[in-house]
Symmetry: C2
Subunit: 513 residues, 2 copies
């Protein structure tokens, strides 16, 4: 531990304070989405804006710059080549973030905040009325502001990057368009073929709804068996499931019960718990981590890989369905699934529909490819905003073989663009790819093909958890997402493991009972 | 509304910011006591300390002083005799608070905060081990620091006040020892006599416990019938019931289910809802109120009078018991109370015991008198701290006719002194007195003797609520507690209405069925 009074220790103190403020925001956000009465919204908005202002000020202040410079000088002068690599990495990441903050014109930051809030409101209304033309001017303004932001950020980038790439950095550090095109090409080529195969399969009978109390109980049992500790975690209900971290020992997840979707809350619980496990496993142990960059998640793609692993690889697996079917059956006092295999098929309904958030594992990534390509067209290829609906529909036809009847079910369906969030969507697809490749490596380590299914069948999911806890979570931001995959799996990230996993699963699902 | 750039408007902006910070603290406190997992405590403590520091800084800053001085100058120069009285009063109250903040040595503030936290920890342990001598040095230090605080505050006081009186000002503005002695004298004289009468009554049979779900449902029905609006309020569970305000349109209350005390949650809900109704009714309407002093509760005594009104005058009344007994009976599917009268007696069990928080309406104020007199002895009459246990026990004997066997059940029972909180206890007793005198005035306005019981019998509690909403809650800090009572009831506060109410109720309770 560095001497009290050292530049490093002073910087630590500064970051601790910043992190406290950030986590107060998270606490207010959690309350807002789980308990706050509706009429509290305006005041809560003022509270969050106040904290956001304080946070921004601390992250770009001259004091922060001075403390960081002093810590950098200390690293060079006192420690030189003997410097702990963690300390060097922390300072590099902080420097990059500070330079990004500093390169932005405060007036642009304000203009963006306003345009985001306005864009969201206009979008809500336009989507409800299926009126893309009402939304188009707001989108145009957001694109212009984001391009301006990217051009201001250029000076802070350590290498040449396109505007879209610059905007994607906060979500997926070091990502490039070329790399994504490379990763997505096999998905574009193979997923439509798989989708055609699935179209031949019948849909499973929609199962009877499960009573709310039973869903609650099954979610609680799932969490208990997956290492949930009520001393460190709490769960609640919210309109949309989420996971958040309120402090180094304070984790919250939320779910919702959806009428008519009896397995929704259960699978959302698995998903959010995956996010939370990653957060809980991030390095906290010594002075180089919490509240330093190294104590943070390295990318949204890796974060998503953790939630998808527990949701898709574990909770939607056949082995899991076989172990849990008796509990569902006993709880309900009936078996509307007609056995474990039917239950498993209910956990994996084919759903190649129009809506991304309702899409199945097969079609999901195609939704992302479509959005990725349209973002590039809008931000870098001068595609007119007015062309978006037509372009959207045409690409949906090409990729998924279906077309929306309304823009509300098409290019107006997501909130992201309404807030000018470009560069975020690919992380969702990367999550699937990373999860599959890490699972492959896990399987090898745990004994070869079938090892994951074997652990699940034996109710030994803690073996999977331990593997992630040893090799993945403690990396924090020591490496970026792709480096993490290469380090853990020994190979560069590719779409192959994901496609293989899908084909294998599909074969099993299609096999006669 | 004052002009946008006026000194008054600028001060408003400053206070708004301060109030946002304060309400963020309240939100964290609420979360901490209702949902936060135990392991989150240390980080939450850091968050709250950070906010407390920011709040203290804003409440004593040079900027605040300048803004206030400018607003005062504006009031004198621009408006003179035409100044809205609300504005004058707001500035007077802010000036008084600022001068108090400024008169304190920051080192003393820090020393006090540490001593409070240490005192609390030592007290927890000493109480658990029944070891007063372990607690005595901490108490001695807290008394010394509080005396020092009082001597620093003297310069800010608008009139001559004793150390105890100075410390009591934040809870009960303008209160004096003489006035309290005057108010408490009839209680000391008459309550012991009433207690002797009660001793002759038998205790009601302890009723069977009520299932938790039924208690929940009855609490929800109570709140529904008393104006609870889920758009503005939320309720939750916590270890100790409380009520808090998170924003101008965001109110929370909590209760707990106590095994073996079937009516506890129900009565606590009535009590906390009374607090919340007062908060919800405080003036918010225009620029002179929220977030100004005039938008705040005027004293802890008045606050307590509002909770006690709904708990004791309404929920423990015979008319209420008669209306609600069928619901309790139907919910339970049995009548362990043997009719409405038995139910009413269960709502009013005589409990002249050793513990203040478990005391009944008859003996409660005697617990307060004892503490008030001991605080004076400790702070102003040089009573040695070592004498406290013996003095406590002797006075318990004199006032209540009983003596604790251990200090844990005696002078170690309350948390207040462990945190150096002197001057707070009398507000609890004033709450009973104020509630009774306001209820008397209400009854006159609503049609004379029996009008409150009549409204309750008819299920028209909204008539009681409207009366308070018209005449009491909107006063905010325009008047202090005693002025409020005089204004509303036309008479100075006295113990008479309370004693009359008790005697009347006691007669009914003792009457043959």
């Amino acid at each position: 531990m560095p001497a009290a009074g050292s530049a490093f220790a002073q910087l630590h103190q500064y970051l601790h304070h910043t992190r406290l403020l950030g986590s107060i925001s998270s606490a207010l956000y959690y309350d807002q989405n789980t308990v706050m009465p509706a009429a509290g919204a305006a005041w809560r908005g003022d509270q969050l804006a106040l904290l956001a202002g304080q946070l921004h000020e601390r992250q770009s202040s001259a004091e922060f710059g001075d403390l960081l410079a002093a810590a950098e000088a200390e690293l060079g002068a006192e420690l030189g080549a003997d410097a702990p690599p963690e300390r060097r990495r922390n300072l590099e990441l902080l420097r990059l973030e500070l330079e990004r903050q500093r390169s932005l014109d405060p007036q642009l930051v304000q203009a963006l905040a306003k345009a985001q809030s306005r864009g969201n409101a206009i979008w809500q209304d336009a989507r409800a009325r299926n009126d893309f033309s009402a939304f188009a001017p707001a989108l145009l303004e957001l694109i212009a502001l984001r391009r301006q932001q990217a051009s201001q950020l250029v000076s802070a980038e350590p290498m040449a990057r396109s505007p879209w790439e610059i905007l994607a950095q906060p979500f997926e550090p070091d990502i490039s368009k070329t790399r994504l095109e490379q990763l997505f090409a096999p998905l574009k080529a193979e997923l439509p073929v798989l989708l055609e195969q699935v179209a031949a399969m019948g849909n499973p009978q929609p199962a009877a709804d499960l009573p709310e109390a039973l869903q609650e109980q099954l979610c609680a049992e799932l969490l208990d068996s997956w290492g949930y500790d009520p001393q460190r975690c709490q769960r609640a209900r919210s309109a949309h499931p989420f996971s958040c971290t309120l402090g180094p020992q304070d984790f919250r997840i939320t779910t919702r019960v959806v009428p008519g979707q009896p397995l929704s809350a259960f699978l959302a619980t698995a998903h959010e718990w995956g996010h939370s496990l990653y957060e809980q496993g991030l390095p906290r142990g010594d002075d180089h981590f919490f509240p330093w960059p190294l104590g943070e998640a390295t990318s949204m793609g890796v974060h998503e890989s953790q939630s998808l692993f527990w949701e898709c690889r574990v909770a939607r697996s056949q082995a899991f369905a076989e172990r849990w079917h008796p509990r569902f059956q006993a709880g309900l006092g009936a078996d509307p699934w007609g056995g474990a295999r039917g239950f498993w098929r209910s956990l994996n309904p084919p759903a190649p529909g129009l809506i991304r958030v309702e899409a199945d594992e097969l079609s999901y990534c195609l939704h992302i490819v479509l959005r990725f390509e349209l973002e590039l067209a809008l931000l870098e290829q001068d595609m007119p905003v007015e062309d978006l609906p037509q372009q959207w529909n045409q690409r949906m036809q090409e990729l998924l073989g279906i077309q929306p009847q309304t823009d509300s079910q098409g290019c107006l369906q997501d909130i992201h663009w309404a807030e000018g969030l470009f560069g975020y969507f690919p992380s969702y697809a990367l999550g699937h790819l990373i999860s599959a490749q890490l699972a492959e490596a896990m399987e090898t380590d745990l004994g070869g093909p079938g090892a994951i299914a074997g652990a699940i069948a034996a109710g030994q999911e803690e073996r999977l958890r331990s593997w992630l806890a040893m090799g993945v979570w403690p990396l924090g931001r020591a490496v970026n997402g792709e480096e993490l995959v290469r380090q853990v799996s020994g190979r560069p990230l590719s779409a192959e493991p994901f496609l293989q996993y899908l084909k294998f699963k599909l074969e099993l699902l299609q096999a006669p009972a």
